[in-house]
């Protein structure tokens, strides 16, 4: 059933807005500006708002003794304007009116009843009221209201602008959160203080209100005296004159010391308990900014060397280790490190394993831990590259079953190298040198992009020697390899996606797009050659 005419228009408008990409972009932008903690714009907005707030507070203090000029007044009005826009924008962002209307409309359609204006309005307003009721929104409103002339006497509330700073500094809100966790202890303490103050001020009032020489004439005097004494300030402007009053004072001072130490200890323990979590949260926030990073689980002997090499390659990474001394060492080197148990799925999730992590290294000294991390990482993200360390030969198979992309076994490599060494000491040392990138030499792969200067070329025609490179072989492309008659090609396992390796291809071997050249040379030469090849592909693409 169609709704009543004015409502009909509203519903249509809502659907229009819901479809409009522009409207959504607008709202998204406002969200990035004001609410989204990950937005790159947020820090700038926060700093600007803080400066505006401090400027208006400064003007307010200045105004007490000096008249404000035209310019300052204009500035204040402009800032108030910004505050109003911000308040309204936050209200706009808090809930989607069009969604509420559309939901109500669809419900009505479904139930076959006529859509009424009142319930829809109530639904919308209820959501907005939730916003207006939230503490931060109230602070915002109180910071704006006193600027309205008829409410000038509420000038005191202008100080609420300072509280607005809460919104823009995360440290303060975390402080508040920590205290909120100790809510129960603080309530208890407050009740106790309230009781003591009540008892002490009543007692002193009863004992001294009728004494001539006493300064306590009203109940307010009594409360004032009790508060000043309980918190161990003791100005001495009001002092008890009767023995009974002095007895009350003595008890009150002793209680006061207890109250102060108790409240201090509550705050200190709250922070002691939360400090680690706060630090961890900072690490998580830093990790969240990274892209395609490596999660290194285990910062032992292997971990340390891996991290050193990753840092050298300027690849982003984060270290997780159970042992605090390891983490302390990592932090001393300025690395992003977290003292947590990586076998816990929650830790991995917080490190963004399902989002932006590129690979995870399970390289602790313990095979059981490595297998467990491998398994949970693989389950959480099937596309992640998982590299695991096996300390015993039997574990290799288990790690593969658990989903490791690659398994590295330190001791096996030594065995291989030892056997190689006794045969050919010179060659094995040279190979190790090349593999470890000694003197800048390395074996690397140069792709043959379609339409580049290499595609369709014969091997003999490429002057690799001019680039100071040695061609070791060609990895034939995925699809083209099968049809081509490749003499002596070595079949590779599935991990290389069905490619075949042709070692030392003859000069008349012609290259196809998607082939990969395996070359040996200085990293600079390889980079240069690769840039040339890729550049030629771009030129060809632009010319075509």
């Amino acid at each position: 059933m169609s709704p009543t005419p004015p409502l009909h228009l509203i519903v249509r408008l809502c659907y229009r807005l819901d479809d409009s990409a522009r409207y959504r972009r607008c709202k998204r932008f406002a969200y990035d500006l004001l609410e989204n903690p990950d937005s790159p714009l947020r820090p700038y907005v926060d700093v600007t708002m803080c400066l505006l707030i401090l400027a208006t507070v400064f003007l307010m203090i200045y105004e007490v003794r000096h008249p404000l000029g035209e310019l300052a007044r204009g500035f204040e009005d402009a800032v108030i304007g910004v505050f109003i826009v911000e308040y309204l924008a936050r209200g706009w962002l808090y809930s989607d009116v069009r969604r509420s209307v559309i939901e109500a409309h669809e419900e009505a359609e479904f139930l076959g009843i006529r859509l009424q204006l009142r319930p829809v309005l109530a639904r919308v307003l209820r959501r907005k009221w939730d916003y207006a009721r939230s503490p931060l929104a109230i602070i915002d409103l109180l910071a704006i209201l006193p600027s309205y002339r008829p409410l000038r006497m509420l000038r005191f509330f202008l100080l609420f602008r300072v509280f607005k700073l809460f919104r823009y500094t995360r440290a303060i809100s975390e402080f508040a959160k920590v205290l909120a966790e100790k809510r129960f202890d603080l309530y208890t303490l407050a009740m106790f203080i309230g009781f003591v103050l009540f008892a002490a001020s009543t007692a002193i009032y009863i004992f001294e209100a009728h004494v001539e020489t006493s300064h306590i004439n009203t109940l307010f005097d009594a409360v004032y005296w009790a508060v000043i004494t309980l918190f161990t300030v003791g100005y001495g402007d009001i002092t008890p004159k009767t023995p009974e009053g002095r007895l009350v004072a003595m008890l009150l001072v002793v209680t006061g010391v207890a109250v102060i130490s108790l409240s201090t200890s509550i705050v200190v323990t709250a922070f002691g308990e939360k400090m680690q979590a706060l630090r961890d949260r900072r690490v998580f926030a830093d990790v969240d900014k990274l892209r395609d990073y490596v999660i290194v689980c285990g910062y032992g002997r292997v971990g340390e060397m891996v991290v050193a090499r990753l840092a050298e390659q300027k690849r982003p990474f984060v270290i997780v280790d159970k042992l605090a001394p390891n983490i302390a060492r990592a932090k001393a080197c300025g690395h992003l490190a977290l003292c947590e148990d990586a076998t816990q799925a929650e830790v991995l999730a917080n490190l963004g394993i399902t989002r932006h992590a590129g690979s995870i290294l399970c390289i602790t000294g313990d095979d059981i831990t490595n297998t467990y991390i491998t398994l949970s990482a693989r389950q959480m993200n099937p596309r992640l590259s998982v590299i695991s360390r096996a300390n015993r030969a039997e574990t290799i198979h288990k790690l593969r079953l658990a989903g490791a992309t690659h398994v590295v076994m330190p001791y096996e490599v030594v065995g291989l190298m030892a056997a190689e060494y006794i045969h050919q000491p010179v060659a094995s040392t040279a190979l190790a040198g090349i593999l470890s990138g000694e003197r800048g030499m390395s074996i690397d792969i140069v792709a043959v992009p379609p339409r580049s200067m290499l595609a369709g070329q014969r091997i003999g025609a490429i002057a690799l020697a001019r680039h100071k490179l040695t061609l070791l072989g060609v990895l034939t492309g995925v699809d083209g390899g099968a049809q081509r008659d490749v003499r002596g090609a070595i079949e590779l396992r599935a991990s290389l996606q069905g490619r075949r390796f042709c070692f030392n291809p003859p000069p008349d071997f012609s290259l196809c797009a998607e082939d990969l050249l395996v070359v040996l040379g200085r990293s600079v030469s390889i980079e240069h050659f690769r840039a040339q090849v890729e550049g030629s592909a771009l030129h060809a693409g632009a010319g075509a």
Partner: protein
Amino acid sequence: MKPRRIGLFGYAKLGMEVANHLCRTGCELLVVDRDDGNLARAAERGLQTLKCDYTDDLELARAGVGGGLDLIFVLLPEDAENVFLTISARALAPRLTIVAVSDSPGSAAKLLAAGADKVIDPFEIAARRITDLIRKPLVVDMLDQTVFGQADLELAEVEVLPGSGLAGLALGAVDLREGYELVVIGAVVDGAERHLRFAAEDAGYRLRRGDVLLVAGPSGDVVRFRADFAPPRTDGQR
């Protein structure tokens, strides 16, 4: 010069792995350890064993250091023990080849100073592999399956002997010879520091007597290449 008798000091995790690989090389292997449990495990695998306190020079000599052994692997779990054994062995036998394993970053230099010919750092190798797997997985995979794998492809060394026809040849000119499926990687120059020259960079370098040419290729071609460039007279004496 291929070693005939190899001494393997220390049969723990690492020693076992090395022994596994050495078994296949056809060398005579002697496992030396202080611990009876380790020795029993080695004996179970059919290895020749000897119980020996390697802090004692007399016992070392009895094991064959300075006598029957051509090469020893020092694979003890403690760095200090490794350095001590290396020094003792070097003092006893100046011509013995000593291959040691280092367990902490600083110990490689100490082992070399103590007289080891080669130091292997398993953790450094593992770390290198792991970072390479992240950076260029394709290359690592390819090397694993070719040079280190079952495929018939190896990096081989060919010594430049007097009168072999290799001496005096430029590095860049070696691969021009027809008939071998080989790639010339470079040459290790004879001399104190065993400097490696790459064919790609120093194509003009002329090989001299005592240099070692590095080639990669199928083992059949390597054997043929070696035979063709071996001077007839000196062959067999080594």
